[in-house]
Subunit: 260 residues, 2 copies
């Protein structure tokens, strides 16, 4: 099975993209809703949590692990790969970075994400590793996760706050903007409208699913051990009605959340 | 020592009030910043966390425990008193409730708090226990904690969101409004302005400090075992620069945060 974990419910945007790219594969999801959010916490704490999340997924028998959370991807990937050497670990930063380098024409790129993701500087480092000439501008947007979790997707206040967050990036005349947080695809239309239609939006959730699909094509030895079926399992570390509502909003249908 | 815990940093508004009312007493604070916030989580999880927080404070030798968090006060007080029978446990709901019954003249009272606090219905129950005739209107305001933690205390967006949250209460012509969350005193001026000056604002943090002071006067046997001094200790379960900034904003001076 494909194991996918996130700090909470937002990682279901990755699940949705995986369902689109790899519809036959069975997944196990874990959302750490008891300790959500990760994006405001310290690297040491995020690494601890990511290790525990991975151990939980492995205990369910998954054969590959996808870190659906941008914050954990930015801060904890190295620690996870050091610790869990036998298992392919995917994260959501690299696929978005690769896409960025294919898409940008004016070499001015913007990144939005949580404070922990932006402070990690990981997008900047990874983009510059591929193309040193690309200029990367980033802005932490810590209020977007709570706004999405409240379901305030089209409210005037959300649009005003987005405008404030995006303005510094718009001024830099970026032509590409990475949605560096799993919650942000739910705001994609407003973000596109605020940035203007000439700015290309890169959705790290969607790119990650494409990346995994390509990887499995190139690694049939891994592909063959992944289970097919639709007995998908969705675990959370805490359950509230609000979490169930967000899950439904993301996937477009209700799912059964199991308490881990 | 007086032990005080909260889901994070917001409980320092209670510490500030305790310093004003009981300046000679030594305190130990614990903020569960690694798992903050509590207000969006389930009662079962909040109770687990509150028990662990109390155990931590007891391990530091505190003789009384103050649940500074409205969410934990609303959901976990009974479980804490059942479990820790030898120790006086204070919470922030009852002092505010007592004040409300003294202040209201038209018997229409409003409560704002986190979703968990409002869903617990505890303010409503406790007020009706004292005065069955008082009508209680409440509204969950889940975006206020993130706004305060971002330091957006006077921004236009914060004022708009507050207006939206307060409007249903204003329509009910309440004459008293309880700030049922430790973060809200930092928004008191805007809340007062939105509600109009005839509405009396009850700050549960301030009322709790007065309540403890009165209790100690009436219970000299407890008062005598509490330590005097100013060797106060502030523990957090996770440290980030943002947490330190909020602490400074609340207390008006920087404090040394120890990692628990």
């Amino acid at each position: 099975m494909i194991g996918i974990f996130d700090s909470g419910i937002g990682g279901l945007t990755v699940v949705k993209a995986v369902f689109q790219q790899l519809p036959d594969y069975e997944i196990v999801y874990f959302g750490d809703t008891a300790r959500t959010p990760y994006g405001t916490k310290s690297p040491a704490t995020i690494i601890d949590y990511a290790i525990q999340d991975t151990e939980f997924l492995l205990s369910k028998g998954v054969k590959i692990v996808v870190v659906a959370c941008n914050t954990a991807s930015s801060v904890a990937t190295e620690a996870l790969r050091d610790r869990f050497t036998g298992i392919p670990i995917f994260e959501v930063v690299t696929p978005a970075v690769v896409k960025v380098t294919q898409v940008t024409k004016n070499y001015n790129v913007g990144i939005i994400g949580t404070r922990a993701t932006i402070n990690s500087n990981i997008y900047n480092k990874k983009i510059k590793d591929l193309y040193a000439d690309i200029k990367v501008f980033s802005n932490a947007c810590p209020l977007l996760v709570p706004l999405v979790e409240e379901g305030w997707l089209k409210r005037r206040e959300t649009k005003m706050i987005l405008k404030k967050y995006l303005y510094p990036l718009k001024r830099k005349q970026i032509d590409t903007l990475v949605l560096g947080c799993t919650h942000y695809p739910l705001l994609k239309d407003i973000i596109q409208a605020k940035m203007g239609k000439r700015v290309k939006i890169v959705d790290s959730s969607a790119e990650t699913a494409v990346y995994i699909k390509n990887y499995l094509t190139e690694h049939p030895e891994i592909d063959v051990i992944l289970k097919r079926g639709n007995n998908n399992q969705f675990y959370v570390s805490d359950f509230t009605p609000t979490f169930a509502e967000i899950a439904k909003k993301i996937l477009g249908r209700p799912i059964h959340l199991l308490l881990a």
